[in-house]
Amino acid sequence: MLDVRGVSVRYGDLQALWDVTFAVRAGELVAIIGPNGAGKTTILKTILGLVRPAAGSIDFRGAPLTRYPPYDRVARGIALVPEGRRIFPNMSVRDTLELGAYTAGRRADLRPRVERVYDLFPVLASRQRQAAGTLSGGEQQMLAIGRALMADPALLMLDEPSLGLAPVVIDHLYDRLGELKGRGLTILLVEQYVAGALELADRAYVLETGRIVREGAGHELLADDYIQKTYLAL
């Protein structure tokens, strides 16, 4: 579904990505793990079109993406849950969700979509009139995911959904991600929470200082010596 080939990204003199190549097949959950500053967020921003690659190509559903601006890529079925949630603090939960379906157009019937999000995260239904800024961290993350799902994406990209959340909340979120995966949604997950991400992922890539240094099935990497020593402190 998504084919990233030889992508390099530069921020001025600084090269953030070096010849990054990876793929996400339909129905897969692929994780990209790595330390701070490895370039994980840059990969997602490049896929969404917020950052222009200096070299390389990105294909989505068989067609090259590089020429399209971000809003066209969203309309083509790519959704991003940004790092740090980036909810709209003054907007109600319900309004946020409806705005998430922005690309569906003004006449679309959004109720079934909203209901699907409430089924996944029932707590959002009980908070629907509340301003998003008053939600807890975990609820904000659920809202950010719900907002992305409202666009009915073919590919859901998540940027460190576990950031700043309590372990029990992370467990709950990952259960929901597993549920989405079970429904056949294609997911690209960027994480520093390596154990959880590898457990859930079909396949994973390890990104360090802008280069992919390892790849494999989630459970393989989980058992890998290097990963265990560097990321899991085992």
Partner: protein
């Protein structure tokens, strides 16, 4: 129920205010009507400024550029295009339409360079744009009258009474525009951009298109206000059309009353103009009027950083 009651109360207050203002010329002195006319002009500037400042969260220090540019285009057309002077009232009306259209086009084109910038850089660039316009007008003397300014024939002056009524209508339309915008798809998109550009892009909003639409929409009432002001004055120069107060007062008014709310800029405008008029005409103080403004702004910033209206609305909830 309470929400309905509050909405009804607000509607009643607006209707009562509009009725009072409409009746004002029948009962008040010429001085007071003139003062309210100027207040309405400034309130329109503040309300239209707030489309960018409040909804989109971009500090536009060049709102006065739309005001001044429209006034100049209007006068240049009236002075240089001879047949417009022989059409009666239709002449100036046509010229106003052309001036507003030109200003909107200017706003659309200015969007390209301006929205490459954010935050303080955007604010500086908008201010610079207005200064640039002032310099251009000063130096293109053949067209603009340069430092001497431009006059229109006295029979084309807009008398106070119709000018006042038109200003009242314009202010009402400007407020209505913001109220509609607050509920529209465009308005929701602008508020999303204000709260997070990244998230707004991630849900598929075309950031540039939305920002430039906001800029063009905000230019329209300001341009009309510039035309009204110019037609009433009968004389324009860089100082009265593009002076710094045309661009700074709207910002102060919106912030004071409550940026991002529909009636905040109106309230702020009333307060600032009331202070201004009383300081200049009625109270004689040993300190300059600007010192008083500064003091008020500091107090608002310290105690009501969201502005007066949000402060009291939150209190009630």
């Amino acid at each position: 129920m309470r929400r309905w009651a509050a909405g009804g109360l607000q509607g009643l207050a607006v209707a009562a205010g509009a009725g009072l203002l409409l009746a004002l010329p029948q009962v008040a002195t010429r001085d007071i009507v003139t003062a309210v006319f100027f207040a309405l002009i400034f309130i329109t500037l503040a309300v239209s400024y707030d489309i960018l400042g409040g909804f989109l969260g971009y500090l536009n220090l060049g709102q006065g550029a739309f005001f001044g540019l429209a006034g100049y285009v209007l006068f240049i057309l009236i002075v240089k295009v001879a047949f417009l002077q022989h059409l009666g009232p239709a002449g100036p009306a046509l010229a106003v339409l052309a001036a507003v259209a030109f200003t909107a086009l200017f706003a659309r084109l200015a969007a390209y360079p301006l929205f490459q910038l954010r935050g303080a850089y955007f604010a500086m660039a908008t201010f610079g744009l207005m200064l640039l316009l002032g310099h251009l007008i000063t130096n293109l003397g053949g067209l603009t009258g340069g430092a001497y300014g431009l006059y229109i024939p006295t029979e084309l002056y807009l008398p106070l009474r119709p000018a006042y009524t038109l200003a009242l209508l314009l202010t009402g339309l400007s407020v209505a525009l913001n109220a509609l915008l607050a509920r529209s798809r465009l308005g929701m998109g602008l508020q999303a951009i204000r709260q997070s550009e990244l998230a707004a892009a991630a849900i598929g909003i075309d950031l540039f298109r939305y920002k430039s639409r906001a800029l063009v929409l905000s230019s329209l009432p300001s341009a009309l206000a510039g035309c009204l002001f110019a037609l009433y004055s009968g004389y324009i120069d860089v100082q009265n059309m593009l002076g710094a107060e045309k661009t700074l007062f709207p910002v102060i008014m919106a912030m004071l009353g409550g940026s991002g709310t529909v009636f905040g800029p109106v309230l702020g405008g009333v307060i600032v103009r009331a202070i201004d008029v009383s300081l200049k005409n009625y109270l004689v103080l040993p300190v300059p009027a600007l010192g008083i403004y500064g003091l008020i702004l500091m107090c608002i910033g310290l105690f009501m950083p969201q502005g007066i209206l949000p402060f009291f609305l939150r209190r009630r909830l």
